[in-house]
């Protein structure tokens, strides 16, 4: 996959912190953040995943002029069998070599990892796919390593 340039911006961090209900000033108040150990605004730990915003081809974002599988006039804008249960997120792991903040411009590269299958009572055959993402800063230093595991289920996960 192509490398993605991920400019880390203060307003994006502020909106992300709001969306997880985190009112810690270190995520939005530059003056208050200066007085903390972090020395300035930093991003919450799971913010790195928001690199999706900077992936031009990200498949979970509607794009002008292209059919979208969510509802409009009908329950799905895509004909035929819905992507059934689709893909779900099974695991996410971050290793932080340094905490990122506004002004960092990261270069992000994702590589496929292992894949495996498992049978489950609640959702049939499960297909697991791992990917490894490396985030490097403007000096070429590795700042975050992420490992993500996605799962595709044979049928929607049964409840209860």
């Amino acid at each position: 996959m192509a490398k993605i340039t991920f400019p880390v911006e203060a307003s994006h961090i502020m909106m992300f912190a709001r969306s997880i209900g985190d009112t810690n000033p270190v995520y939005y108040d530059a003056e208050a953040a200066k007085k903390t150990e972090a020395g300035g605004i930093i991003a919450p730990p799971s913010f790195a995943q928001s690199v999706a915003q900077f992936n031009p081809d990200y498949f979970l974002r509607p794009k002008p002029g292209q059919p979208w599988f969510g509802s409009g006039k009908t329950a799905s804008g895509v004909e035929g069998k819905a992507s059934s249960s689709g893909g779900l997120h099974a695991e996410q792991h971050f290793e932080f070599h340094r905490h990122i903040g506004p002004g960092d411009v990261l270069t992000v590269e994702t590589k496929p990892g292992a894949s495996w299958e498992k049978e489950s009572k609640r959702a049939g055959k499960l297909m697991f796919r791992e990917s490894i993402t490396e985030y490097r800063d403007q000096n070429g230093n590795l700042v975050i390593t992420a490992r993500s595991v996605g799962v595709t289920t044979e049928r929607p996960v049964s409840q209860g």
């Binding site: 985190d22 903390t36 930093i42 915003q53 997120h89 996410q92 971050f94 932080f96 996960v157």
Partner: protein, 140 residues
């Protein structure tokens, strides 16, 4: 603010209620900030009629973010070195989540004191929705 090795012991636990009555709007808010617009999280019509789920449900990464808030409140800003989770059950609108971190080990690596934490996030029925592990730098 930071944790001190001298004041910690294995088994110590910190927990917080990280969301009370999760709203669909907060899930939408997370879709907007993360860039993950999967309609399974924000589009009730698609999710019920096409995907076969009883309602939209939260992004796993929202549960991770909510749990991360408890974690950074506990270990301090910029102290985490590792944070990894496994999503074990879906989180639905209306859910109330409690997240906890339990000290599994206190150790030293290259002269740096570290704490290993075991993470668990449960819903209002006591069902575990996420498990995980984290490591943070601590003071001596």
């Amino acid at each position: 603010m930071a944790l001190k090795a001298s004041a910690l012991k294995v088994g110590d636990t910190h927990s917080e209620r990280v969301v009370d009555n999760l709203s669909r709007t907060q899930i939408v808010q997370y879709a907007g900030s993360s860039g993950d617009y999967n309609p399974l999280h924000t589009d009730e019509i698609y999710t019920v009629q096409k995907a076969g789920y009883p309602s939209v449900f939260a992004h796993g990464m929202l549960t991770m973010g909510l749990t991360g808030k408890m974690l950074t409140n506990y270990v301090g800003d910029g102290r985490l070195t590792k944070f990894g989770v496994r999503f074990t059950n879906q989180v639905w609108p209306g859910d109330t989540l409690d997240a906890s971190a339990t000290v599994a080990a206190i150790r030293e690596e290259g002269g740096v004191k570290l704490v290993d934490l075991t993470l668990s996030t449960v819903n209002q029925d006591g069902t575990e929705v996420m498990t995980g592990n984290a490591t943070a730098r601590i003071d001596p």
